[in-house]
Symmetry: C2
């Protein structure tokens, strides 16, 4: 039986869901006998206990009858539909939005996506989450819930949260704003989405860093933007290479360039603001993890220098708390405030109140600051550990980019062309280790192998196992002498097999 588990929660519930899905779609019809728990366990490589628990669960819910031993039979509530569901038919794209969505869609490209079945994954964009945080969050929710107004939320966000955010970003990031400038949104993705709608028509030019955050790129493409990649060096985006006439919107990560980690220099900040001012353009400052500065003072936000109201500052709690929360904010420049509010109104009437209230309490009570300090310390430890492990095990095979904040490092493999990098990722995956190529972060991927190596979602002991495993995978692809352009051993082996 061909069942796919969804990797969400306990295994027995995953299996129960997969079986229900098979019933719902008609692959398992009423009266069908299920394989014995022993057969099913063998087929799916699960323990028999898991299968028995799944069957018991389905029995309790009335999806199967019979007893272990004498066979289990499907009694699906979906077995006698009023009409067969309509066939999945190809429909031509119904709008320009859908046409572009079909062209550019990369649904799998969620930050921190972990392929199923891996032992280790250098996931990036995944925060340090521990049970203490989950427990604390549950307490904050329970504390806030009774006081939350059940009515439609404020479109702009809960006043208490807007106040807490404005004070927090003012204090920690130097952002100049009042609570009235804050728009609470459902994470960075919604921030980009609202900004795209308010600023862009199909064909409008948008400049973004090369490399960049791929989800933002895809989103902008789906909204019809024409993208121009601006190269990045150790001082961030090469602002002097921005096109003339000026683009409508420039997207930057000035505090910690994603993914390379460089910081936009003061001169370039001023030049970028001047560019936007002269061209009546806009700047989207994505400060996705600027709070995680490990070994020196945090770099202040670009927004602080903006005297003309040209910067839309975007922040998120996905990295500092956890992504399932879906909370972020835009610090709106005065001229776009009303348009952004209407866009948010039109999108969803406002962000759910309960989480907003809990977060406002968490920030105001000082708990959020304590959490940030703890996480920053942990991230610094893991970053230092991973750096030294990589140096120890991979030696001079890697060029690791300087970065003093965040949750990942970028490592380039010396003299390894991109195609060979793909083979490396494939070989690692067969050994249950997930690696992440930097290539999707480019409009024009370079012909060398770069990896984004997240260290936030692995404990120190996992890092101590995962890095040597990575080194072993790397050793499958021996370094070639300069000028040697022959295919490496592994290619020859696999092409003969």
């Amino acid at each position: 039986m061909d069942l796919v588990l969804d990797e969400d929660g306990p295994l027995y519930l995953q299996l129960a869901r997969a079986l229900k899905e098979a019933m719902a779609t008609g692959r398992l019809t009423n009266g069908t006998r299920l394989p014995s728990s022993r057969e099913m366990a063998y087929d799916l490589n699960l323990s028999r206990t898991t299968v028995v628990a799944a069957y018991e669960h389905l029995r309790a819910e009335g999806f199967i009858t019979g007893r272990v031993g004498s066979g289990s039979y499907v009694t699906s509530p979906w077995s006698a539909p009023v009409r067969p569901p309509p066939a999945r038919r190809a429909v031509v794209a119904q709008s320009a939005f859908s046409r572009r969505a079909r062209e550019f869609s990369t649904l799998g490209n969620i930050p921190g996506h972990r392929p199923p079945g891996m032992r280790y994954a250098f996931q990036y964009g995944m925060p340090v989450v521990n049970t203490a945080l989950t427990a604390q969050w549950t307490r904050e929710l329970a504390r806030a819930a009774p006081y939350v107004q059940p009515n439609y939320p404020r479109i702009q966000g809960l006043p208490a949260l807007r106040e807490a955010v404005s004070r927090h970003v003012g204090r920690t990031r130097g952002v100049v704003c009042t609570p009235d400038d804050v728009l609470i949104v459902g994470g960075t993705q919604q921030a980009f989405s609202l900004i795209a709608r308010v600023l862009l028509d199909e064909g409008d030019q948008v400049a973004l860093e090369e490399p960049h955050y791929f989800s933002a790129r895809t989103l902008l493409q789906i909204h019809g933007a024409r993208l121009i990649g601006i190269p990045v060096d150790a001082e961030g985006m090469q602002v002097d290479r921005l096109p003339d006439p000026a683009v409508k919107l420039t997207c930057v990560t000035p505090s910690h360039q994603f993914p390379t980690g460089s910081v936009l220099s003061h001169e370039r900040r001023l030049a970028l603001l001047e560019y936007a001012r002269l061209g009546s353009g806009w700047i989207l400052e994505d400060d996705y993890d600027g709070e995680f500065r490990h070994d020196q003072q945090p770099v202040k936000a670009l927004q602080q220098l903006d005297r003309d109201g040209r910067v839309l500052y975007v922040g998120s709690f996905s990295k500092t708390l956890f992504p399932a929360l879906r909370l972020g904010y835009i610090i709106m420049p005065p001229g776009l405030k009303d348009d952004l509010l209407v866009a948010k109104w039109s999108d969803d009437f406002g962000t759910p109140s309960m989480d907003q209230a809990a977060l406002a309490g968490f920030i105001t009570s000082g708990g959020y600051d304590r959490h940030l300090r703890q996480v920053t310390r942990k991230l610094a430890e893991r970053r230092n550990l991973m750096r030294s492990l990589l140096e120890q095990h991979c030696g001079d095979r890697l060029e690791i980019m300087e970065s003093h904040s965040g949750m990942h490092l970028v490592a380039w493999v010396h003299d390894m062309p991109a195609a060979e990098g793909e083979a490396l990722i494939h070989a690692a995956r067969e050994r249950k280790l997930a690696l992440y190529s930097i290539a999707p972060c480019y409009l024009q991927p370079p012909d060398r192998t770069g990896l984004i190596m997240g260290f936030s979602a692995m404990s120190p002991s996992e890092l101590r196992d995962a890095v040597p495993l990575f080194a072993k995978c790397l050793a499958l692809f021996p370094r070639r002498a300069a000028g040697d352009r022959s295919r490496p051993a592994l290619y020859l082996a696999s092409s003969s097999g």
Copy 2:
């Protein structure tokens, strides 16, 4: 001092926030002496206790110094900004979306909006909320939170919730679907928003009932749709008046037409489906409160009859639980599934997980069904009470439309032109009673006075006070003899004053 309280939570916190807002925007600068609590209480018509509590709160947070009696002085953290905030400058609309948003925006048009300072409001679209539900929801959250995956949510929604929803709508609404057809969204507004993006280009024709749900209309206008209103009678939308060639999308509320309450007849349902099939068009079935059927069997969903995959069925938990939750769903036709998923991806990466998990538990445990039964019983009681109170106090001034479900009634005032209806609403508001005109629900408002009278957000005893008050307001506008087109007394009085 000109302070506006935001009506959110305890009064002293509202006042404290308003003062902080004044500090943040520079209206109250560092060192300013605040009015004494006595003066402030008098100015704002608040109790002195409230003002003292607000001052104490600000003192505790470090926003003011000094003691009660000797004067309080502002020590705002915002008093010395790095730069003055940029002036709020008029910016021309930056995109076609923004141009339309500025033309059609009606930010105040949130269902159930209650103007500040009212004693009673015939709010509609506001669910029956009680402290028992809030407490129960808090428990569901606390139960679910520790098991929620902190990572990015599924774009399509939590598997457990999709399964619970598909079973629930199958059982209660006759909707034919599997968990794989369910897309969890942030309420009806996001459902409309995603559907508009996936189906519509600027200028595409959309048919909607006349009258209709005004937020949906505005949203469609902002997305550039050309709208065609189709009149409604006692059998719902007059489907035979749909234009030829067929429109791209038809929006209907077949189970309980909003706001009139009629039910789309079986013949018209079949005709509408045939219209969509022949014209390759789509049907958005907004089943916003079809579960609240007071005195007979629920009307099944139109989706049940759809053999061609042309119906997008939209449901929401805003009415059955509470709007602050921001949870709803689309039952997707097979041909649009992938496009809708990408639209959701591009919009916000998925709906927050915590509330989804709590809701899945609430439905699966049977708590949601129990809650629905209770609420339906309460709604039926309140509807019957309001109907009889209106008949008793307003006699034959009103024509109340038949409706057997939902949370409001529509009442037409005999022989009262629309302009006089506006004066009636104004007069009621001066007596702290909020009335809601039906006019915003029309593309072409009729020249008579219709009111949407919600009964869900008022207790029986409040209804017993509010309806007589309404009758008194109505009596200010005496009924005129047939053919009498002179202005009523109130107009003459106000024009002379």
